[in-house]
Symmetry: C2
Subunit: 308 residues, 2 copies
């Protein structure tokens, strides 16, 4: 099954996919987060509606899409998680490294990415995103996928210009290495991601969340990024360095995962064989949109770009 969230007559409504082109507005369902909390008990209710109710059916283009989970508790993003990155990394952790986007940065399919000239370069990052079903802490690798409700698409917009601006080179204070109460200073680089990863509209997501039964293997999905009709990258989730189970097991040692939390798995960046380039060449501030991300079995997320 595939679910989304739309605005209809001023209200947030949940939509279930009827087929590739049509969705059904569900009655009596307050939110997708509530469906996820009630899963699998909610499943037969939705199935019944899909089988019998056609009054709320619309073509997907007629919906005013919102993020499938408009206000997740947290949006965790995994950094540098493509095996193609490894030859560029001179030093770094062997485990998943992560940052957060604020829920308020999320936008739905078709909503505008809004940029300012002074944001500098802003490029797309096409990503598979996991929607957590049952929460947990210290989740084992073996049971990690039992905590997944489904999968969606995220475009993890990134401003390398703001990344550079928000990097400090400084002498960090550390305790003295002799174990005394004195101090030592260590030459350190640190980067703060709130602006370059979390500015408003930097989190296009959706339109659909596909439940796990539709995605037998989350590491066998094609993922494509298309800018103004030109294929930029064509990759496969097989190339993720840390798997969905790896990431869930690792992150839940540090932060409790909760129902409807989102984990974006990191960028698919392999250039398309048909003359694609790098996502870093697609400067949305200079070039505008639309920018699309498609994942097999889930759908296509497309967003226009406008200048603020």
């Amino acid at each position: 099954m595939r679910f989304g969230t739309v605005r209809s007559n001023g209200r947030e409504r949940v939509v279930a996919a009827l087929d590739e082109q049509h969705g059904l507005l569900l009655e009596g369902v307050p939110s997708l987060a509530q469906i996820i909390a009630d899963w699998p008990a909610a499943e037969p209710v939705v199935k019944q509606a899909l089988a019998t109710d056609r009054a709320g059916a619309r073509h997907v283009d007629q919906f005013d899409w919102l993020p499938p989970i408009p206000r997740p508790g947290k949006v965790i993003c995994v950094a540098l998680n493509n095996s193609a990155n490894t030859d560029r990394i001179m030093s770094g952790p062997k485990h998943p490294a992560m940052f957060l986007k604020p829920a308020s940065s999320l936008i739905g399919h078709g909503q505008s990415i809004r940029l300012r000239a002074d944001y500098g370069r802003v490029h797309p990052e096409p990503e598979l995103a996991v929607v957590i079903g049952r929460g947990g802490v210290d989740i084992s690798h073996d049971t990690a996928l039992d905590h997944v409700f489904g999968y969606t698409i995220m475009n993890d917009l990134t401003s390398p210009t703001m990344r550079g601006e928000d990097t400090f080179h400084y002498r960090a204070i550390h305790p003295a290495s002799d174990g005394s109460s004195g101090l030592s200073y260590v030459d350190t680089w640190v980067t703060y991601p709130m602006r370059y990863k979390g500015s408003d509209t930097f989190g296009p997501i959706g339109p659909w969340v596909a439940t796990t039964d539709e995605i037998p293997d989350p590491h066998d999905l094609t993922i494509q990024c298309v800018h103004q009709g030109r294929v930029v990258t064509a990759d496969n989730t097989a190339n993720l360095l840390h798997s969905v189970a790896d990431v869930i097991a690792f992150v839940s040692r540090y932060t409790a995962l909760e129902t409807a939390d989102i984990i974006a798995m990191g960028t698919a960046l392999k250039a398309s064989a048909a003359g694609g380039s790098a996502v870093q060449n697609v400067d949305l501030t200079a070039l505008g949109g639309p920018i699309d991300v498609s994942i097999s079995g889930i759908g296509t997320l497309s967003n226009p770009v406008e200048m603020r």
Copy 2:
């Protein structure tokens, strides 16, 4: 007025301060976020309760404190924002740089900071935190303080060990400098803060939010960090490099501020004249708690430490 949130008979309840030692459980108030949304209309209702209702009065030590806003939409933290930092910064932005903590990392006054030995060093960072009242985007510097509901205390726990582990030195992909569709590679350091700033219990906050009428000048507050009864740092919010108004004006150009969002203003780090040291010397993983942060006019946030 000062407000907090506690757990009473399994429910979240809002408390208003009667005096330094006593708080009153408010009836018919769903949450502090709701009071903030209804402010100033809610003010006379609370005043009336404080003047007439003593049935819900308790000594502050009897409350089971939660974060004053248990689930803010976002928690923005300003980095390296003490004027004492400036001589240690070799390069960095002149504007506020920011990261996020997840709402799920917040804990209340008296709740345990829970650490693992493999977190490495974890130190306190005593901070003034702003609670947003009326939200907004592109807020002007002149009107910025009109968007503040009040002030609270945050202990921005930090693991420099995990910070080091989650730092990459890599060759970032950039567009070719000749403007062609080719690529260039730029030697880059980048640090991802989810674990070192956002692990569970890394956000002690509260107990009280003091409304703005109680804090005539947020840049004339003493702020003290006490570990196991010993004063570590004694500083003043006058030493913040970027003011509350600066930060609100800056951040709201990038991210919409919303009612009950939290902004932690950055660490007060001046060593106490009475033999204090640096917060970086207070390794809570090795030394345990309790760790206290006090701000004049707001109160004291104290948390024990336990090992997971």
